[in-house]
Each structure stands twice: as structure tokens, then as C-alpha cells.
């Protein structure tokens, strides 16, 4: 029984007709932020022409390998700093996407912008080309914190940029924030929170600063130059912000994300948390298509050369097993406030959730239920606020 299910599942996965998400990586940065570990370069002028050409070729080649023209309903330009793209460049990319794919009427096209590198005209260009969602990397509205983070903008620049976004007529935009930054006090954080509420974006992302291995921040932390925020303060910042944003009318839908309404949730990011298909294009991009996880080269020259030579720059392609899909589905679902829907799980995998996991797993889950970290209710498993604070621990039961 089980074997047939698995086989059918793996087969059906190969011919998905669901709409696809596209992630497009623009690895350009005026200056690299010392905490960031996404791939980017600051000497991008040397590469931009070749890079855009390669990117367009990759879109063309990879689209042509799909069975028929796939419907695309989300595009996400991430970086780096996609707002450094020129009109012609973005125009060429979007034109190629339109040639290679079918675009859904209600398509969401997000573009990450840096307040330090944005003008009214640029924003207008983006809008003309179809971008309908802006994600602005604000991080903080306190100049000292921005300095610690090594950002090139200040508070005024953010306020000005948000005005421009509104003036150009973007209905849907998100502000990205960071807390748990060294020397950021609770008052400083709450001040930023209030200012953001004042700006009234349709979406807010807020993360606890992570010291990613190999980043200048991490090296400074190890050297004792930067102090990690205590987990007590970090969690208090998180909870206080959640409370305030909720009071201001936002509702949380994922560990680090809140939206004003269901319509303004980021549909592209939701694909990651729903184990839906997405194609990652550009250097260092990741894809999940037909049950296979692909990873592109993390070096721009290598990326360009590979694309020109063979049309892809995969450095890894791994076909998820049935078990891989189940566990990934589970832990990404649990990131969402809605949690994991047992019925959806069964529909997708043709097996009952608790039949897939063993007694030990159930025992551990139960211990988290008893300690009030998680809830099992109305056919959903979900983490409550306390559970989200320690989500790794809980998710690791299921991997």
C-alpha cells in the first residue's frame, strides 16, 4: 500500500500543473552589509551586462525544458539589491519571462529595494514594467542601529523613500525590520515599531539578527567586539513587536511576517512554506521543481560561463525522496501561523500524518503539547507564540 502511494506521489510530482513562482537573484550591492550572507558583489559594474545576458539566457533555456509553457503567478526579485537594476535591464528580463512563460492575471511581482539606492523615476519605471509589490530593506529607523548594521541609508532616507513608494502608487509594499542588533535597546526597537506603524505598510517582515557563519559580523562576535543580544531580550522584542503590530491591525501569518490583510501576504514566500514549485534564476538561486532541488553556482563568473556553455549552472541537483518531501512540508508548514493542516497533508501524501511518524515522535510532540508550546486543534498542528520562540527544537522532531 505504502509503496504504491510513494510511487504515485513521486510520479505525479513530475507533472505538476500548479502555477510556478520565479525567484530572480540580482547580486548587485553598492556595499555589502556585514551581517548578510546572501550572495552579492560590489564590483557589479564589471559584470552587469554579461550577467543580465546570462540571466535572460537561463530563463529561456530553463523554460524551454519544461513541458509546455508553465503558468507563473509570482515573481520575486531578490538580492543583493534588485533596485539597482536599470529600466532596460528589468524590461529585458520581464520581456523574456513573458515570452517564456504564461503570466497569471493576478500575478504578484515583488522587488526588493534598498532605501539608499532609489529614486522616484526608478520606482516609476518598476511600476510601468509591472512590479506591484515593493519590499523595502528598512532594518531600523534609528540611525545608530543603522550604523551598526553598516547600512548606507538613514532614517530620513527611509521616510522619504516610503513617501516616494506611495506617491508612485504602489498599493502593496513591505518594510523589513531587524531586532536583536548589538546595542539596540528595547526603547530603540519600540520606537522603530511605532514609526513603522505610522508609515502603515501593507506588510511587515521582522527578523532577529542572526550571526551567519563567515560574515564580518560573526567574526566580530567571535572576537568579542559584537555582543549577541540575550535570548531574553531578543524574545521580549519579538513579543512586544507582535503585540503592537497586532494592535495596529496586522496579523501574523509566519514566524517573521505580518500582513494587513490576507491579500497582502507575500504569495511568493508562501510557496516556500507550502512546498510549492519555484524556479530560482541567477547566481546562487535555488529551485524546487518536479520534486528536485537545484542549486546554482555561488560565483558570478562561474555562473555566467556555465550558462553560456550549457544553459544552466547547477552545482547540485537532488531529487527529494517521498520522506524528504514529507519532512520538508511539515517543518515549513509549521512556520505558518495557520500551521499544518492534517487533511491537506493526507490529500497530498496519501498517508495519515501520525502513521508516518513513530511513537517516539508522538511522545515528543505530546511533551510540547503538555508544556504549552504547540496546539493540535481543529485538524491543524500549530506552534503558539511560545513554540515559535523555539521552533527549531519542535520542528526537529519531524525531520
Amino acid at each position: 500500500m505504502m509503496r504504491t502511494n510513494k510511487f504515485e506521489y513521486i510520479e505525479s510530482r513530475k507533472n505538476s500543473k500548479e502555477p510556478l513562482g520565479l525567484y530572480i537573484h540580482i547580486p548587485f550591492c553598492i556595499r555589502k552589509c556585514p551581517y548578510c550572507d546572501f550572495y552579492s558583489i560590489d564590483n557589479y559594474e564589471d559584470f552587469r551586462k554579461k550577467y543580465i545576458e546570462a540571466l535572460i539566457k537561463e530563463i529561456k533555456v530553463r523554460a524551454s525544458l519544461m513541458r509546455g509553457k508553465r503558468l507563473v503567478d509570482t515573481i520575486f526579485f531578490g538580492g543583493g539589491t534588485p533596485s539597482l537594476l536599470k529600466y532596460e535591464e528589468l524590461s529585458e528580463i520581464i520581456s523574456e519571462i513573458k515570452r517564456s512563460f504564461l503570466l497569471a492575471n493576478n500575478i504578484e511581482i515583488s522587488l526588493e529595494c534598498n532605501p539608499g539606492a532609489l529614486s522616484f523615476e526608478t520606482l516609476q519605471d518598476f511600476k510601468t514594467l509591472g512590479v506591484n509589490r515593493i519590499s523595502l530593506g528598512v532594518q531600523s529607523l534609528n540611525n545608530n542601529v543603522l550604523k551598526v548594521l553598516g547600512r548606507i541609508h538613514d532614517e530620513d532616507k527611509v521616510l522619504e523613500t516610503v513617501k516616494l513608494i506611495k506617491a508612485v502608487g504602489f498599493q502593496n509594499y513591505s518594510l523589513d525590520l531587524m531586532f536583536g542588533v548589538p546595542n539596540q535597546t528595547m526603547d530603540i526597537w519600540l520606537d522603530t515599531v511605532e514609526k513603522v506603524i505610522e508609515l502603515s505598510p501593507t506588510h511587515i517582515s521582522f527578523y532577529s539578527l542572526e550571526f551567519m557563519e563567515g560574515t564580518p559580523f560573526d567574526i566580530k562576535r567571535q572576537a568579542g567586539v559584537l555582543q549577541e543580544t540575550s535570548s531574553e531580550l531578543d524574545r521580549e522584542m519579538y513579543h512586544r513587536a507582535l503585540d503592537r503590530f497586532e494592535e495596529a491591525g496586522y496579523s501574523q501569518y509566519e514566524i517573521s511576517n505580518m500582513a494587513k490583510s490576507e491579500n497582502t501576504r507575500c504569495r511568493h514566500n508562501l510557496k516556500y512554506w507550502n512546498l510549492e514549485e519555484y524556479m530560482g534564476l541567477g547566481v546562487s538561486a535555488h529551485s524546487y521543481i518536479g520534486g528536485v532541488r537545484f542549486e546554482n553556482s555561488r560565483n558570478i563568473e562561474e555562473y555566467i560561463n556555465c550558462i553560456n556553455e550549457k544553459g544552466n549552472s547547477f552545482i547540485r541537483a537532488y531529487e527529494n525522496t517521498f520522506e524528504d518531501d514529507v519532512t520538508e512540508y511539515v517543518f515549513t508548514s509549521l512556520r505558518k501561523n495557520e500551521g499544518l493542516c492534517l487533511e491537506d497533508f493526507e490529500k497530498r501524501f496519501h498517508i495519515k500524518f501520525w502513521d508516518f511518524y513513530d511513537m517516539e515522535c508522538i511522545r515528543q510532540w505530546e511533551s510540547f503539547v503538555l508544556a504549552d508550546f504547540v496546539v493540535e486543534k481543529d485538524g491543524y498542528l500549530r506552534l503558539n507564540r511560545k513554540g515559535m520562540d523555539i521552533s527549531n527544537r519542535i520542528m526537529s522532531i519531524f525531520v
Partner: protein, 602 residues
Amino acid sequence: MEYQKYIRNFSIIAHIDHGKSTLADRIIEMTGLVAHRDMKEQYLDNMDLERERGITIKLQTTRLMYKAKNGQEYIFNLIDTPGHVDFNYEVSRSLAACEGAVLVVDATQGVEAQTLANVYLALDENLEILPVLNKMDLASARPDECKEEIEEVIGLDASNAPEISAKTGLGVDELLERIIDGVPAPEGDVNAPLKALIFDSKYDNYLGVIIYTRIFDGSVKKGDVIQLMSTNKKYEVTEVGFCSPGLVPTKELKAGEVGYICGSIKQVADARVGDTITLASRPTAEPLDGYKKVQSMVFCGIYPAEGEKYEGVKDALEKLQVNDAAFSFEPETSQALGYGFRCGFLGLLHMEIIVERLEREFDLSVITTSPSVIYKVIKTDGTVEMLQNPSNLPAPQEIDHIEEPMVKANIMIPNEYVGSIMELCQQRRGTMLHMEYITPTRVQIHYDMPLNEVIYDFFDALKSKTRGYGSLEYEFDRYEKSQLVKLDVLLNRDLVDAFSMIVHESKAYNRGRFVCEKLKEIIPMHQFEVPIQASIGQKVIARETVRAYRKDVIAKCYGGDISRKKKLLEKQKEGKKRMRQFGTVEVPQEAFTAVLKYDENK
């Protein structure tokens, strides 16, 4: 007898790191047995573990052909000796198989405690000792001072000692000639009844036990029925030969020769080091002197780690025992750890080696409990119990008193460390017997100390406090009445028997505090606060608390790199697997060894 004139049986003795194995390599190479390019470094140390630690644990013996400058060919039997204080008895039996010993002294370091200990062992066996100064290629070599030390401390004439570098080969040819002149040829009556010494044995899957032997009288060949004199067990000889260093069968072994004997013997415990071999049909009247059955001095529990099978550990222990007569084990159970084994060792190093071999050679994951010595518990009813496992200590009202094993420890250190080492020994309940200046800068201190204090971390502490220059050598002396108590550890108020240890009353508070602090560092945060307590009976003497965890979250999960997040979660899960559940508390397995490790700051 004529053939004996051309045989030289000798060992190399030295302190750890003074270059014994390197010299052996060089001698092997220079006598042409192994081509230079085939040399693995340190040929005689053939266990990986030995090579890594730079010490020789199990003996290897090698027969070499040496063509002397006078044109005559000689047979050199080089008998290697184990290089650690735990294996003194084995060293003494190896030396008993020789007529001479090459004493290697590091010319940059001088005489060390172990050098002396080995010299005394060699003198006990009436060996001719040839001192040599090694590491002469180093700029810091001070041969004249070392010669003086050798003469003053050991009383050997070192004026003509060859100055060599085993590493570069400098002076080794001269040493080879010196061996011919300095080491007497063996004697012995080839027509007398067989009298042969077992100086090592090891188990081989095809041959059974291989006995390494020195023939003192008579001869032995395939088909003979030999008798081992300590047990009177008889075996038919299936093969004799010598080691080159691979086994090379030969027709017979005769008086004065060194080689091996096989006789379908099932385990090394049946062919104990020091025992005398004779012929069943024509036995010798008296066995050789010096046989003693080695006794385990240190005990600890070995338990299968989470997910490991009891049977797997049992099989591995059996296999190790087959090859190691000094290692013993028997089943036991622990409330905390379930089914496992109480194992006996010569010392702490021996224990560490066995545990590492279980992990490396058998790919097993095990938990070891606090090592313990054997306590003599004298009960109120007059009976005496030899206690190996602290958890089995009878109730206080049943105990009249407890006695613990005492050792005589010789510590050799540069004089600048005398103060800190005396302090250390005092902390470890040592009583200084006397102290002597070997040279103006080197001191030997003799202590009377409880073995219990030596086995925990004394050696590490000594090394650490003397920057590696201190050396230690000890031997069992007697049992002595002592104020001992049982220290228990409670996690979240549950007693974890595997952590229980017996300590001196005066040390209980420090020990308790140390263990609690260590466990606090090691035990991860839980959903709830975890109190860690150390207690004597009902009385809590130390306490620490592991806070409940607050945060463990990946804030960002974007860009589609799900695999990386998943790996992180998997790693976390793996970490959890290596945990051991005690009641409600999860304890990483390294906790058991960590509470025993010497910590400079504590």
C-alpha cells in the same frame, strides 16, 4: 654454544617521546630489513592508536640481520617495550627476555622519571645497559649535562655514550657496533629441558594465540607438546618461528633465541605474560622467576550508548579480552544506564585505550562511568567486601570502615615546579616521603598517595602544571583506612547512579561543586529549569541550575534554500540522539567523561 655468539637480544628503553620508536625504526632501516620507502613511520608501533599517541602499548619484536664491520653477521632480536606507567609488568617481562638494553635519553631533556623506572627494571633483570644520547640534531641538545645526569642519577658510566640522532641516522652505525660489544651473547643449554619465557602474546584469527617467547634452555619445534607452568595446561605446537617483523616459520627455536610459538590457544589469558613454557614430556624443574598475574587496578562501567546494542558491546569486549590479559569485564546493571559491564584496567590510560578501541575498531558508541579503584569495605558484621562499583556501597549503618589502595608515586620535575607540584600532591592527599635533587635543576619527589587521587586527573594536572616536563611513575603499596563518602548526583531531583563516586570526605565539597558546574555547562537547556545537585546521603552539598530555554529559531527562511534549514534541523535532531534520557532530563554522553577531566581553572 657457537651459534649463540652471534645473537644479541636487547630492548630499547626510554621515557615517552625520547625517541625510542624512532630509533627502532632507524635500526630496522639500517640493518636493511625494510627499505626506507616502505617504512611507515615508527614501524614497531603498529596500532593506529599507538601511532597517534606516540606511545607503544603492545609489544612488537623483530629479528634483524646485521653485518658488522668485522664482516661477521649477527642476529639482533630487538624486543620493544610498552612505554607507559600502566604497563610496568609487561616491560619487566620484555626486559627479562634480553641480555642488554639501550637506554635512550633525550639530550635536550635529560633523565626523566620513566627513564629511571625503566633503568631500575632493567637492573633488576641484570641487563647490561648502554646509554645513548638522542636528538643530537637539535640545537638545544646538551650532551655533557645529560651524561653527568646519567652518571649521577643512575650511576652508569656515560662517558662513551654514543651521541646520535635517531631522526637523521647520525651515530646509529656506531651504536650498532656498540651493541655487539656491549650486550652479552645469550647463554643456555640447548640440551636441557625446555625453559622459555612468555613476554608477550596476541590473538590471531587464523593461528589462535601467538606467544612471543625467549628460549632460555632446550628447544621447541612443531609437534611438541608444551606445558604452561602457571596453569599446567598443555598444547600441541602447530608452528614456531621468528618475527621479521611478519611471522616467518622455522624448524625449531633453540636456547638463546627469540621467536614465536603457536598452539591453538584460544585466548591470551591462557598464555599469560611472564609464564614459563616447558615440554610436557620433559619438564624443567623450576619455572623462571618473576611471574605474576596482573591485577586490574582501575574499574569503570562501560554501557552501550543510546541506540547501541548490548550484544555488540559484549562481543567487542570479548574480542579485546582475547588479546589483553590485563583487561577484565563482567556484566552489571545501572538504574540510569541499563545493562552494561564493569571493566577492570591496569590504569587510566589503559582504560582510555580500550574505550577508544571500542569506538574506532568496533565502531561502537559507549558511555563510561567514573573510574573507581577497589575499595575494601569492612562491615560491622566483620565481613569484608571488595567494592568496584560505588553504587554498590552498603548502607552507612552496615559499614564499619572503608580502606582504600595507596600507591608509592615518584614524580620527577624541573626544580622550578616543586612548589606547585607539592601543592598539587597535597590537594590530592599525598604525603611526601622524601625529595632529592638529581641535579641542581631536577628534582625527584616521592609521595605516598591514594590511588583514587591518581586515577582521576592527576597525570593531566601534573603535565599541565609543569608544561609537560613532569613525569610520574607509581606502584601499588597497601590498603589503608580512610574517611571516604559516596557522592551522588541528582538531576531534576532524580539520582543518576552512573555519576556516583567515592571520594575522601575532605574533597567532597570541591568535587561536588566541580561536577555540578561541569554538568551545568554540558546539559542543554530544557523546557523547564533543571536543578543539578551533588549530595552525600540526604545532604545536598552543591547545586547549580540549567535555565529553561527561551529562543531557538531560524528567523529567516527565504530564497528557497530549504535544504540548508533542513540540515540545521537534522543536526539538532542528531545532537538529541546522542543524548541520554535520565528521568526527565537529557544528558549528552560526553558528560560522563567531562566530569572527570582536569580543569586548570577549577
